[in-house]
Symmetry: C2
Subunit: 357 residues, 2 copies
């Protein structure tokens, strides 16, 4: 079992100093042709690679970015990670992942754990519990420590940082418009409780689209699901609730749901109730995941472009990290204004499938 070789060992072996080895390997012309050759050959032979940890300590930067998300077994979030990893990798960074599991305290613990030198910056999406508590001190604390944050999807005004969001509002508007164009007269909304910002925005988009078309929203046509219960494992509850909803509103001919699961469940229930999709009922969901693609009938959805969100987030973060670098390298600390915080909006797109006409 050969431990990785270090500069010191190379130096000893070749009877030169550590500094000489270091310089030779970086092709410093301070070192003679001869010894450079010799050292490089030796290093190659023993497959020398500088130790990342030592470099991190010396440079006071780790070249890794921390991802902090509520959940990983989730199409949207894993897509975002893929995006982040892609650009991180391309730009020479690693990613380290923490899961808050939608818990406030786990979010804090993870954050503090990573903030103690392990990462240069965060890309994160806020946990539900944190959104409920509206306690964002930990975000501001780490920002004050000089660790930049980029928030995506679930963002919040109380924290000053770069943000990348989906255009939830307009996505919802587009979806409802589509249903209207397709001839729907009574469009229902299946949504979550209001404290999740994205749910709220999508709801607002729904209302806006109706009003723009001269339709007065009917509160009976809005179903708010309490997602404090673990819906994934309580599917029956969800379906019963939706069934009730359909039965008490037999006039519904269109459904806009704020996520895939609600949409697919709605289709399932509707078909059990004897409705034909898309003839009797048209359905549009949000989030273009596996479910939408493979449901029968396949589901028309508002796509969020998760990968793009991840890529943009990572780029924003790394840009800022490297801007900081060149800043401190400036001879004249001429107080050049830092780049303002950016709120980047990723446009949604409607992907038409079988659940609409």
């Amino acid at each position: 079992m050969k431990r990785k070789i270090t500069l010191k060992q190379i130096a000893k072996e070749l009877d030169v100093s550590v500094s000489t080895v270091s310089k030779a390997l970086s092709n410093s012309k301070e070192i003679s042709e001869d010894t450079t050759q010799k050292i490089q050959a030796f290093a190659k032979l023993y497959n020398y690679k500088p130790n990342n940890i030592a470099l991190s300590l010396k440079n006071r930067k780790t070249k890794t970015i921390g991802i902090l998300i509520p959940e990983i077994v989730h199409h949207f979030f894993s897509t975002v990670i893929r995006g982040i990893e892609r650009v991180a990798n391309r730009r020479g960074y690693n990613v380290i992942v923490g899961l808050s599991n939608e818990s406030f305290t786990k979010e804090i613990i993870n954050m503090e754990m990573l903030a103690n030198g392990s990462i240069d910056g965060f890309v994160l999406s806020i946990s539900k519990e944190t959104l409920l508590k509206q306690d964002y001190h930990h975000f501001n604390a780490t920002i004050n420590q000089g660790i930049p944050i980029v928030m995506f999807d679930r963002v919040v005004n109380e924290v000053d940082c770069d943000k990348v969001i989906v255009d939830d509002f307009n996505g919802a508007v587009k979806a409802v418009n589509k249903l209207l164009e397709n001839g729907c007269k009574n469009i229902a909304l299946i949504t979550t409780m209001d404290y999740v910002s994205v749910g709220k925005l999508r709801t607002q988009g729904y209302l806006e689209a109706l009003q723009n078309n001269g339709i007065i929203p009917d509160s009976n046509l809005i179903l708010k699901i309490d997602d404090s219960l673990d819906v994934e494992n309580n599917l029956d509850v969800l379906e019963i609730e939706i069934a009730q909803f359909f039965k008490s509103n037999p006039n519904i001919d269109g459904v806009f749901a704020v996520n895939e699961l609600y949409a697919v469940s709605a289709m399932k229930v509707a078909r059990k109730l004897g409705l034909k999709i898309p003839d009797d009922l048209q359905v549009i969901g949000f989030t273009d995941g596996v479910l939408s693609k493979h449901a029968t009938p396949s589901l028309t959805t508002v796509s969020q472009h998760g990968q793009k969100i991840g890529e943009q987030s990572a780029n924003l973060l790394i840009d800022r990290l490297e801007a900081e670098d060149s800043e401190t390298e400036q001879y004249f600390t001429n107080n050049e204004k830092k780049r303002d915080f950016i709120k980047m909006v990723i446009e949604t797109e409607i992907i038409e499938r079988e659940s609409t006409k």
Copy 2:
């Protein structure tokens, strides 16, 4: 913007030495009650937390484990990550994620990047391209450097390390037995090409189950999908192929598919061909993901318990890491045998849903 405070700064501020501060914070009784109090109070006030990188360098261990997987937007893999993260977190470790994207070279690059000090050990699943090439030198190289590896799911005999695998073979046997019990006479298999070990094992299980029941496998009833093409984005190709398959074998009354997608596609195609599920055709898939749960009809599947796989893998790895520790701490290097490599088999379980009788 307050940078994180260091021992040195505390020492300066309180006019003591760095060593004193360090000792006081670890409650060493070398330091007097008084100064300990003073130092701890000050440290708390300024929210001192030791710098992880410095600790890593000093201790020559990072307390983080590297995950290297082919793909992250994938129910099984993300479930495994969740499992790993759970026990990692519980046992004081972080996880850093690399994606090979099924590519041999990306796997190597990622591996080398992380192996240079960033992590203490790997949990990984081999990329398809690597399996095809059968080139495993990079795994053995990092193991030789003293970095332990735990492989899961896609494993290989050529590398000596702990392994956690799904009992693919018996899972397949169970599934086929189930179909037989349910009265199927002509059970088809939809599988992948043979080089992916899991596909091969599931195929073998299928064959075994038939033979155990005195049925001679019919090669016409086996459909091998070439997954070198990106199936997810070529659904139509897949469906056409399956449709052909059904048409030329109208006697099929049961289908065992080696993954969710194939199973769901088979159901979709079958229904278009006018077959009733489960009356005319029963279907069982492998991998219990979102698709199985939410398909209509919902799919009976062989569950792989991804989270458990992740948890076991992480435990194996950390056990080995910490065993190494205590080993080097031994006064008597009494050559105690290292723990042999473990191959842990996670049993599968059939989850019955609507696609079987």
